[in-house]
């Protein structure tokens, strides 16, 4: 039985001026799985997501999200796709219930968001200013906002960066729950324990090129290392430090 592909990326290539950010990248995400895109800072993760979502134009390659071209069918597509960008920001002085109402209003159908807030243990924060939430609560809220319209696939960029271990575990729990409800999740992360715990399949990219892919176990085996963290470091090499400075340029 062939799996249903929700996302197909073929030969995606993107330059920033002279700098090659993404090079001939191929990706596939199947329905119902949690897919992790890994790589050091500046490896091209966020750029890849933005090219997939059509918020950035790419030089060559093909992107099919839910079988559609995101640059052409933005309106119909984003009724079915959820997005949480890295480091979400909110308008000043907005309350939790207001940002929920606002986000829900952006979609064609009317969606009820109270039960989602409840599922993420945020119901008692409904009347609180977003700025007064803790880091973990705000991150959970940004996930709620990405899910408000019951998307088929959701993109979560650096979902747990900046969260304390307890809040991270809590977010993981929700991810597993959502997966069991049939949601397909595309995430990026720097934490290998998180990836091991959550992801069905991963792709490691470095300098915009794929250096490894498969299930976490496949990747560990192929590298001959003991765990994913070791395998990851093996694949991204010792260049990790030198990529940090690229962030600034981009």
């Amino acid at each position: 039985m062939s799996k249903q592909k929700l996302l197909e990326v073929n030969g995606l290539t993107k330059h920033y001026g002279q700098h090659l950010a993404v090079n001939k990248l191929d990706l596939e995400v199947n329905k119902g799985e949690i897919f992790g895109l890994l790589g050091p800072n500046g490896a091209g993760k966020s750029t890849t997501i933005e090219c997939i979502l059509g918020t950035k134009h790419f030089d060559s390659g093909m992107v099919r999200l839910l079988g559609q071209d995101p640059l052409v069918e933005r309106k119909s597509l984003f009724n079915r796709v959820g997005v949480q960008f890295q480091a979400s920001h909110f308008p000043d002085r907005i309350k939790v219930k207001e940002i929920c109402e606002l986000t829900a209003s952006l979609y064609k159908k009317d969606y009820e968001w109270e039960s989602l807030l409840n599922q993420f243990s945020l119901t008692d924060k409904k009347n609180v200013m977003v700025s007064e939430l803790s880091g973990g609560q705000r991150q959970k809220l940004s996930v709620v906002l990405a899910l408000i319209h019951q998307p088929e696939i959701v993109f979560l960029d650096e979902l747990t960066t900046g969260l304390d271990p307890k809040a991270r575990r809590e977010v993981w729990k929700y991810m597993k729950q959502l997966k069991s409800q049939g949601l397909t999740i595309f995430l990026t992360s720097h934490y290998m324990d998180e990836v091991t715990h959550l992801c069905d399949r991963i792709s490691i990219i470095c300098n915009g090129e794929e250096v490894a892919h498969g299930t976490p176990d496949d990747v560990i085996k192929a590298s001959g290392k003991e765990n994913l963290e070791e395998a990851y470091l093996y694949y991204v090499g010792e260049e990790e430090g030198s990529h940090e400075e690229l962030e600034g340029i981009i």
């Binding site: 979502l53 918020t55 933005r74 309106k75 119909s76 984003f78 009724n79 796709v81 997005v83 960008f85 979400s88 920001h89 909110f90 308008p91 000043d92 002085r93 907005i94 207001e98 109402e101 606002l102 986000t103 209003s105 952006l106 979609y107 064609k108 009317d110």
Partner: protein, 253 residues
Amino acid sequence: MKSLKVLFKIEFLLAIREFSGVLFGIILPVGLMTLLGILYGNKPAFEGADFTLLQQSFAAVITIGICATGLMGIPLTVANYREKKILKRFKVTPTSPATLLLAQFLNNLLFAVTSSFLVWIVAKLFFGYTMKGSVLMFILAYGFVTLAIYSLGMLIASVSGNIKTANLLCTITYFPMFFLSGATVPYEIMPKGLQMVSNVMPLTQGIKLLKAISLDTNYDFSLTGGSLVIPVLVLCLTAIAGIAVSIKTFRWE
């Protein structure tokens, strides 16, 4: 339409909470009109004038709301939303970020119109103000002035790369216009040199146009032989330049 309604409502709540728009756009001009009413009473604008000082000042005070919303409210919020990537977030929803901008515009317009309406009520009820000229013409001219000032505001929002630049540009456009255009300090009592400086500002020309219409007079406010060609021309140019530069340079992120 559903999005616009909700966005408008929430932007309105945020503006009330933010309060500076209420303070500078509504309370300040209404307070100023009260003060002018008490100070001027029924004094004629000058010896032999067939209109009062209050009638002469009315058109100026009524523009404060346009300025506070157009040169502070709109550019600062837009720059803020862009810097915080809130406009970009809208790009991955079925609703265009332009809807958010429209909600912003309508909200600011509501504040400006409310401000002007309250100023008129205070002037009429407490100080017996009546408009000598055509009210319809006045409303049309008011819309025209608003268009020019809001275009200028969008120009500021478009050319500033971040919120700091927007803040700076707003300050150096807003405050000189606020003090030198005749909106707060009457143009008529300024020395000639200052009047010359003031004449460069689109708001000064807007106020001249509104004055001429509200007083139904050929009195030479513009120092150009009483002709309204210059004010209309300056406002048109401001609006066209503002819209053109905004369209050319505006970025969602």
